[in-house]
């Protein structure tokens, strides 16, 4: 039997980041992960650190603050996690999109974010392999990219140096509460961990952990599939996203792209991510298929079709792999970073859907401040689990 100030459940990017920021404050913390670290969603995703796909206001602010924390992490962590800040580009297909994009950019610029519209000649000068009919774009100067698995490994090594203990291949069986209903211990298949503080960072599995203390966590797995291309010449310089991605993400009913029913059905929208390994990833898809992580040929075909639509030159480049991951989806597209009033000592940091990598430092920082009772760097009411109560 061992005692800890805090026990974190889940060894993905969120759990590891929480452990890192807690350990930095000198808190005695343990992490419990059922498999290897970075073996769930954090190894089946891309490495986006984007404000590009965020709603103006708090959503953007929170992500931008996380981008600033990434700059600190690069200095704090000796492990190279392939951080690059080349900015990102939205590509625009139609006049209608151009109009929506202009409104969006106007709001974001007013709030002080480095975004601007690009006209047709400018975007084609910038990205010469782009399909000829693309009428313009948006440049987002601050957007960045990381290797998510390397980020997890780097943070975990650093957290261990700070004294954190990581129990991988360890399964949480139950969470024990005292007579007053407060957290008392975490029971694992390797023994008991005594603690008054538990942080549930189990992502798509967070509801299962929530059930152990009798609370409902409204997170659903949403599958996203990606294609990996072979090493090749630089097809595109930066992260390139079709503007319709934002519509696919938020499921805007008033806007319809001119795409086939299949692409619509699988929520396919073009996302291009060049990696530091000289290849690139192609996303994205969105589907509710339970906990299934098998790739489907229909989605692969749709992703490839959409990729060629924007970059015809890709037709001769090889796809070497496809993979699928489960994004922890919440109806209002905001993560749950919250204490739980009904269960003193129980915290949740989960439900980031496709933003987990980008929001990981901010999430770790916020939880570390909440646990130590400090003022948080951002107001956290919007992220509270209480927003789901009537």
């Amino acid at each position: 039997m061992k005692g800890y100030d805090a026990v974190v459940i889940g060894g993905g990017v969120i759990g590891i980041s929480v452990v890192y920021y807690l350990s930095k404050k000198g808190i005695k913390v343990a992490l419990v992960e059922k498999g290897d670290i970075a073996s769930g969603t954090s190894s089946r995703c891309d490495g986006n650190v984007l404000i590009a796909d965020k709603q103006p206001g708090f959503d953007t602010k929170m992500t931008y603050d996380s981008q600033l924390l990434f700059k600190e992490l690069v200095k704090e962590i000796p492990y190279d996690f392939d951080y690059t800040q080349r900015g990102s580009i939205y590509i625009i297909e139609s006049e209608e999109e151009f109009k929506i994009a202009k409104e969006y950019v106007k709001k974001q610029v007013e709030d002080g974010y480095p975004m601007r519209m690009m006209d047709k000649s400018e975007i084609h000068d910038d990205e010469p392999y782009l399909a000829e009919d693309i009428i313009g774009g948006v440049e987002i100067g601050c957007d960045a990219s990381v290797n998510p698995m390397a980020l997890v490994f780097g943070l975990s090594l650093e957290a261990k140096k700070n004294g954190a203990e990581i129990f991988d291949y360890t399964y949480v069986k139950d969470i024990r509460l005292d007579k007053k209903g407060a957290v008392e211990a975490v029971e694992t298949d390797q023994g008991m961990l005594i603690t008054k503080c538990v942080v549930n960072c189990a992502g798509v599995w967070a509801p299962e952990i929530g059930n152990m203390v009798g609370i409902d966590i409204p997170i659903k797995p949403r599958q996203g599939q990606l294609l990996v291309a072979e090493k090749t010449f630089p097809v595109g310089k930066r992260k390139i996203v079709e503007f319709g991605y934002m519509m696919a993400k938020f499921g805007d009913e008033n806007y319809k792209r001119n795409v086939s029913p299949e692409l619509e059905k699988f929520g396919i929208a073009f996302v291009f991510e060049p990696t530091l390994s000289d290849n690139f990833l192609i996303g994205s898809s969105r589907a509710f298929v339970g906990f299934d992580t098998d790739v489907s040929i229909e989605v692969m075909q749709g992703l490839a079709e959409r990729a060629i639509r924007f970059f015809p030159v890709m037709k001769d480049i090889h796809v070497i792999r496809a993979y699928a991951g489960l994004r922890p989806y919440v109806d209002d597209h905001m993560p749950i970073i919250s204490k739980v009033d009904e269960v003193p000592g129980f915290y949740i940091a989960a439900g980031h859907e496709g933003d987990g990598i980008g929001l990981s430092p901010l999430t770790g920082k916020l939880i570390s401040q909440m646990v130590t009772g400090e003022e948080t760097i951002l107001p956290i009411d919007t992220l509270s689990i209480n927003r789901f109560k009537e």
């Binding site: 290897d36 670290i37 970075a38 073996s39 190894s43 698995m149 490994f153 090594l157 990581i166 991988d168 291949y169 294609l227 990996v228 291309a229 072979e230 090493k231 390994s277 192609i282 790739v295 040929i297 692969m300 075909q301 749709g302 992703l303 490839a304 079709e305 959409r306 990729a307 060629i308 890709m314 037709k315 001769d316 480049i317 090889h318 796809v319 070497i320 792999r321 496809a322 993979y323």
Partner: protein
């Protein structure tokens, strides 16, 4: 016993991963082929581990003193062999 010089041998040719890097990954917690892959990129390249997978398995076996059958292979995912975006997405 492998000497220090041997650590520079390339095990994964596609991603140019050395024996030394793979041993480091095992020291950092990798217990199977996928664990090594996620930490080093061994097996992530063009051949998708067809060349190095058995070697990686062998190294894990030696480093951790396990039996070969205890070391899980990596997950195979489509496509079975590289296919162009054109073939995949063509109509």
């Amino acid at each position: 016993m492998m000497n220090k010089k041997d650590d520079n041998i390339i095990i994964c040719r596609c991603e140019e991963v050395t024996l030394g890097e793979i041993k480091q990954a095992i020291r950092e917690g990798a217990l199977d082929v996928t664990g090594v892959k996620r930490r080093t990129r061994a097996g992530m390249g063009l051949c998708q581990g067809r060349t190095c997978e058995k070697l990686v398995q062998q190294i894990i076996k030696e480093e951790l003193g396990k039996k070969a059958e205890e070391i899980r292979p990596s997950t195979f995912r489509p496509p079975v062999r590289p296919v162009t975006f054109g073939t995949l997405g063509g109509k």
